[in-house]
Amino acid sequence: MSSSNIEQDFLRQVLAEGLRPDQRSFNDAREIEFNFGAEYGNVEVKLGKTRLVVQISASVKAPRSTAPFEGLFHITTDLSSMAHPKFENGTSNGVEKIMVSRMIEKSIIRSNALDLESLCIVAGKRCWMIRADVHYLNYDGGLVDASCAGVIAALLHFRLPDTSIDGENVIIHDISERPPVALSVLHIPISSTWVYISLSKDENDADNVGDDDMNDSDNDIDSNDKNLEYGIRKIAVLDPTALEQEISHGEIIITANKNREICQITKAGGKLLSSSAVYNYSEQAFDRALKITDKIQRELKKDFEQRNKGNLGTDLSKNALNERPVE
């Protein structure tokens, strides 16, 4: 626990009045910002005070024997005490760490967002290994949403050197020789997180927990006020801050793309939901996915325009390393 009881009580009271400390409504997310770095595949994401950097890198590896036509794709997350002192350095344990890495994996890898077959160079022998390193600089909730958007934006930004095959050898063309190619990203999964917060201070009082379902209306996301009237003391808030996350019990994370596809739902505990409520959440996740997808594409376009204008592209292509013979 890093926040005091009184802070938590205050937040509960504020929420009970239908407000959030940062003046958002319950279904508002914080503005997400993308800053692309000088290198391909480098992006810094800001979601409120949450800040992270994603770096994509590629190397040539032998493919897995079970999938000779597919490339490799790994995502590593590095949640250290830099983001918040509560994260322990050097271990991958802890609820949040596991959840974040699993959610990104489920949202992006398991939904086949990156076309692995396009990474194949020589079947069974050579393929690209793409890795995404996610580094968290500052923590204020919303890790899953921010890292998911960050990884996908970085993948879209990344350019892979072109390759050609000369007999047995694989030639990797330098960026100056041939223009690098974009990765084949099949769809853009964007995740949205809601957490459930019970508004009564002592959430363990049996009289309060009760069966939420008894007089819960079906359209319960749009009608948080109505729920309050019924005396239901659990609310859902989108894109929680660290403090909101801390006092929450249960969450629902939905990853959607702009093709109206749901890539992943994870909901354990929290409020009981009817099938139409889940549908409503999915609908909202889809709306948010549309918005963020749009934003990523706009920012990408802007970045590449700038690169071309300032001839940043050619600057990049002059790989000074090649001119530095190593001893």
């Binding site: 699993r102 596809e261 739902i265 009981l272």
Partner: protein
């Protein structure tokens, strides 16, 4: 395996079931009476999960104690011989850790943990055979195990999976259906018709979510009834014993 075989035009699935049929569901309580405070076994088709519950008891480590409520800890073990290819699973695998975290969160809502402060409840789930998604079996086994251990709970949580063959949701998919199709696992609390647990993977069209969930919720009700009956059978046998 082509789509045709997964769901034939006549409406039959690979194993001859209709879309809304559950596999053979068997469960029992008190299967390992001397090993733990509560135990249960669940078979869904050919998947099998055994659950043992220890506690509420004095915490083994002081640090994991909560002065306000009992701490629920879930460990999932998957036997190396549980699937067709023999694979060794370690309990610190991320997937299993996520599974146990989801189970902890789901049951945190129904277990009246504040009634036994400063204690811990250790739930061990052993997946002996997996045919299809293991999550549903784990939820059901854990629910029965907790009931057998006499842990106070608001209600049952019954769970079942659904796979989507194009537009047709298939109830309680086996492993062929699970590996071929996008699937989701749903857990329903009591008779509420509402889901406390929804886990979905792979891509599903948004508009197909609702019919799949409805089918799953229906399936959960059936599972709930079977489990309830088994609890009563167990209760009756316990009561008979007291008369002896």
């Amino acid at each position: 395996m082509s789509r045709y075989e997964i769901y034939s035009p006549e409406g039959l699935r690979v194993d001859g079931r209709r879309y809304n049929e559950l596999r053979y569901f068997k469960c029992a309580l008190g299967t390992h009476a001397h090993a733990a405070d509560g135990s249960a076994m669940v078979e869904m088709g050919t998947s099998q999960v055994v659950c043992t519950v220890k506690g509420p008891q004095e915490p083994q480590q002081r640090s994991s104690m909560d002065t306000k409520k009992a701490v629920l800890r879930v460990n999932v073990h998957v036997a190396p011989f549980s699937s067709i290819t023999r694979t060794k699973h370690t309990s610190n695998e991320k997937q299993l850790q996520e599974l146990s975290m989801n189970l902890e969160e789901t049951f945190a809502d129904v277990v009246l943990a504040h009634l036994a402060p400063r204690t811990e409840i250790i739930v061990d789930l052993h997946v002996l055979a997996q045919d299809g998604n293991i999550m549903a079996g784990c939820v059901n086994a854990m629910c029965l195990g907790l009931i057998d251990a006499g842990v106070p709970m608001l209600d049952f949580i019954a769970s079942v999976g659904v796979a989507l063959a194009d537009s047709v949701p298939l109830l309680d998919p086996n492993h062929i259906e699970c590996s071929e199709l996008p699937n989701l696992t749903v857990g329903v609390t009591g008779k509420s018709n509402k889901a406390s647990l929804v886990i979905a993977e792979k891509r599903i069209l948004l508009d197909r979510i609702k019919p799949s969930l409805d089918l799953a919720i229906m399936g959960c009700k059936t599972v709930h009834d079977i489990m309830d009956e088994q609890v009563r059978i167990r209760l009756n046998s316990l009561e008979d014993r007291i008369k002896r």
